[in-house]
Point group: C2
Chain length 222, copies 2
């Protein structure tokens, strides 16, 4: 299965303005990307990065500076084309969970993602498998349906369920805290400090961040 | 296993001030409680409510107006006492996952909790099983260790892990979005509108709430 990790290489993590400088946001985003790639690798996958500008990582990088939805749908379309030219195999001889057109999309800021959480995604049956994010996003997905397309604007989880059903595709939703929390805002850093297991939490600690508890609520201070 | 659902019967959900009136907050909190009790019942459990004041529900209610941590630890202590007077059984004859001292605590505002998500909690092995909430809380737990005690102040998930380890108790963490999202603030209502399956989402819709998408972010409007 092709496993794509989109990465906004220019001005990433703008909602962490006021918490991190532009250079720090770039370094932190890069560290989270590496954590996601490592978790995918440990889970037995060979991810590739779909970046808006060149980025040096240990996996293949494809550059596409178009908006996320357009760039991902181009991968889907390309995959279908490639799938159609592959030697046809009877469905029953295909490895479980793998079809010529299967594509996984895993966001680069899932700093809590572990190999175990990702394996629940990859092991799930369904033409379309969705890991919802907080606030209606789609933090990770697998499409095994040749006509499924994404639309990451707004409440994309709801739209992706509707898109899949309109195609008659079966939908499986993964109930995972680790895949639901993407690191976008200051409050998300507390979840990373509490549950992180990779390099991003190390980066955050080395940058001087720690948990802060005030009025019974948990946040971060530097 | 004793399954306790603590419920703040007086002035619940104060962080929804500005979104709901006091009377609405009370009705909404009550509806979420009923959803949690129904989900536990469907998952095969017999919950009881531990309330700060009388509340009419279809399950037994124990009143304790002390702070949450004190009230829950009193249940643990009582359970141990009762466990000690029960006819002793050899460990191997006990039902799987059940010990005389086992207690589950499930928060009353887990409006996204489904029987499936709760079953993952109850089916998990471990002396202490924790379902972390966003921001470091402990939204649901099972203790099968007679000396384990709770402390819900601050980053309780981290403290509960530490408390369990200090006792030499094994800890299992449940990776569940549905158990991680408690409904405390306005932003949480969007997750309920997106993923709710019980009465609370109906209540919210009947009260005139709907999803609102602005600048690519998902919220609610009324």
């Amino acid at each position: 299965m092709r496993v794509v990790v989109p990465f906004a290489a220019r001005q990433p993590k703008t909602r962490l303005e006021g918490v991190l400088s532009a250079a720090e946001r770039a370094a932190f985003a890069r560290t989270m990307l590496e954590d996601v790639l490592n978790a995918l690798d440990t889970a037995g996958h060979e991810p590739e990065v779909l970046a808006t500008a060149p980025v040096e990582v240990s996996v293949p990088v494809q550059i596409n500076d178009r908006p996320l939805t357009t760039a991902i749908n181009a991968v889907f379309a390309e995959r279908i084309g490639r799938g159609a030219t592959e030697a046809p195999r009877a469905p029953e001889t295909q490895p479980s969970g793998s079809t010529p057109t299967a594509v996984a999309v895993v966001m680069a800021d899932l700093a809590l993602a572990t190999p175990e959480a990702l394996s629940r995604l990859f092991d799930a049956d369904g033409d379309v498998v969705l890991a919802p994010g907080r606030g209606g996003g789609t933090n990770a997905l697998i499409s095994r349906h040749p006509e499924f397309r994404v639309d990451y604007h707004g409440a994309s989880y709801r739209d992706h369920v509707a898109n899949a059903r309109a195609l008659g595709a079966s939908v499986t939703t993964i109930d995972s805290f680790r895949l639901a929390i993407d690191i976008d805002e200051r409050a998300d850093l507390a979840d990373l400090l509490l549950h992180g297991e990779g390099r991003a939490i190390q980066w955050l600690c080395e940058a001087g961040f720690e948990l802060a508890i005030a009025d019974g609520r948990v946040g971060v201070r530097r």
